[in-house]
């Protein structure tokens, strides 16, 4: 099911790319109760429940689903989808969105600098690196205090510290950018 999505743009307005984890599904809505997902055709029935959730029948299987937009991650429209209580994070792009993304990617240099954000509101206790420092994946960057605990935030990638955006002692909000790491 995992496919190379680079450059693929569905030409059918009823066609979508749904990316969940490492899988990318090509979903085509054939009519009100049939969809092609990759190479298979499914009968489906989506019914809204009184609780703001949906009950999705997919052939004979039935799933209880609720979906919300990620609050502090508006830049990439990440969806949190709970299926039978389990969490699936992903995003959906239709014809228009894919055209737009392709245009954007052509227009600008694809930078993969990683912005490290505050995973919770808290106070910056210590900054353990300086601009220009090399960092390994998993090495400590900054210590936040929240809920009476010290939480060391680590780099997810190897590279070097490009910018430090906060000072020690500063209170930060959830999702606030702290440090930018340049891979390499």
């Amino acid at each position: 099911m995992a496919k190379d999505e680079t450059g693929f743009i569905p030409m059918n307005p009823n066609q979508y790319l749904a990316s969940f984890g490492t899988s990318v599904y090509t979903v085509t809505l054939l009519d009100d109760n049939r969809a092609r997902i990759d190479d298979e055709i499914y009968l489906f029935d989506l019914a809204e429940t009184g609780q703001g959730q949906v009950s999705l029948k997919l052939n004979d299987a039935v799933f209880e689903i609720s979906a919300i937009q990620h609050e502090d991650d508006s830049e990439d429209h990440l969806l949190h989808v709970r299926v039978n209580g389990n969490l699936y994070d992903g995003r959906v792009e239709d014809h228009q969105a894919l055209l737009k993304r392709n245009a954007l990617q052509r227009g600008q240099r694809s930078t993969s600098d990683q912005t490290v954000r505050a995973p919770m509101p808290g106070k910056v206790l210590r900054i353990e690196v300086s601009a220009g420092d090399p960092v390994a994946a998993g090495s400590g960057l900054i210590v936040l205090e929240a809920m009476k605990m010290e939480n060391e935030i680590k780099s997810m990638i190897a590279g070097s510290v490009k910018t430090i955006l906060v000072d020690a002692g500063r209170a930060v909000e959830k999702g606030e950018p702290l440090i930018v790491i340049e891979p390499g």
Binding site: G21, L29, Q53, N86, P119, M120, M147, N151, E152
Partner: protein
Amino acid sequence: MIKKILIANRGEIAVRIIRACREMNIRAAVVFSDVDRTAMHVRMADEAYALGGNTAAESYLRQDKILEIAGRARVDAIHPGYGFLSENPSFAEEVERAEIIFIGPPAAAIRALGDKTAARKVADRLQIPTVPGTNNPIERETDVFALADTIGYPLLLKAAAGGGGKGMRVVKAKDELSNALRIARSEAKSAFGDERIYVEKFIERPRHVEIQILADRSGNTVYLGERECSIQRRHQKVMEESPSPVVDAQLRKVMGEAATRLVRSVGYTNAGTVEFLIDAHGKFYFLEVNTRLQVEHPVTETVTGIDLVKEQIRIADGIPLSFSQSGIVANGHAIECRICAEDPENSFFPSTGRLARYVVPQGPRVRTDNGFAEGDAITMFYDPLMAKVITWGSSRIEAIEAMRRALSEFLIHGVKSTIPFCQFVLNDEDFRKGIFDTRYVDEHFDFRKLRPNKPQEEIAAALAAVLLNRKVRVQAERQDANHNGVHSRWRRMKLDSYQ
């Protein structure tokens, strides 16, 4: 007789105590911080009194305000819950001085056992085995280094005033000691206002097993079996069970009697917990005493049928225990999972937000002690514990399967939670066999295995996301169309009026 209780706490434990009050026909008064005005403990209480402020220091730790409110509300007793003021001997003293009943041990007993160093001295005197280390907090770094050489590595640094694993650091080798000491002191200071640290031998592969005791004011002290609490993250318990897979009747009796002897020796009354480590050879070491109700008390309640909160209130009211040691029979197996607002994929960092969806499990063999409802906010001000799920089974494996079922029903949307972590543990073969120790998370847990491996569910997620995406787009287009409609009408009206 106790007719009205002030609960000096919040969250699930305040709700737990309100429920006990209801069942005993006792009026429940609570206090609340500004953000907690509509919290569940306030909604469920009979009376509620504002503390003002938001941080713990501004609100639930304000002894002066709480005592003033207790007087104004004319309560007969104060229940401190756990955390906050529950193990503060001077608060207990102040309450008693105000001629209000403190639902907990006498201040002197808290003083004697609440401080780890003091408690170890008592245990040593009674020849209850303890972990090699210092009985006194160590001030000078050079003294720490000297002691470390005597005991040998790995070492454990612990905050003298700490609890629940807060302010604990393992030091694997000499070159880490200096740095670890600095962090431990800083954490201890910030968490407890007391930076004193003590040093002990780090027991490898230890299991954390604790004994629940109850002591009335007529001299009866009993133990209610053990709780296994080795599944910990950040040195804090996250899953507990009773009985422990490694404690047999003989060991239970020896540990239970040691715990009873310890608390008896200081004139302890009310509920308490004596914590031990058990090493790989089944040898146990006294660790510390928690002079209060524990978070994980429900597993003991579930197997013994004894309501610890009601017993606390009855004991505080001077009523003798209605059962003796031989009358306490454990029945089946109970497990608890702590559902905390934390992200297990990201080092269990706290996760704040509003509970967009929040559905707790129901049905057979499940108990949920919960402090929140859909729409409530999880703030950064307090402990991240939202709820505890407790399941019972006639066997350990039945309790585990019931917990898997219960957690599959627990729907939380809006914050991350420890549910996926608990599910990982419940599915792990070693855990299911009962083979684990306090290093379980470090050694077994892999956050990359948290995501469910259910292809059909992922396909369902993808299709549902597409259908919802289309619905939102169609609605937006319809709105645009309406706006255009309005515009057109407006234009038409202008034309009609003025052409």
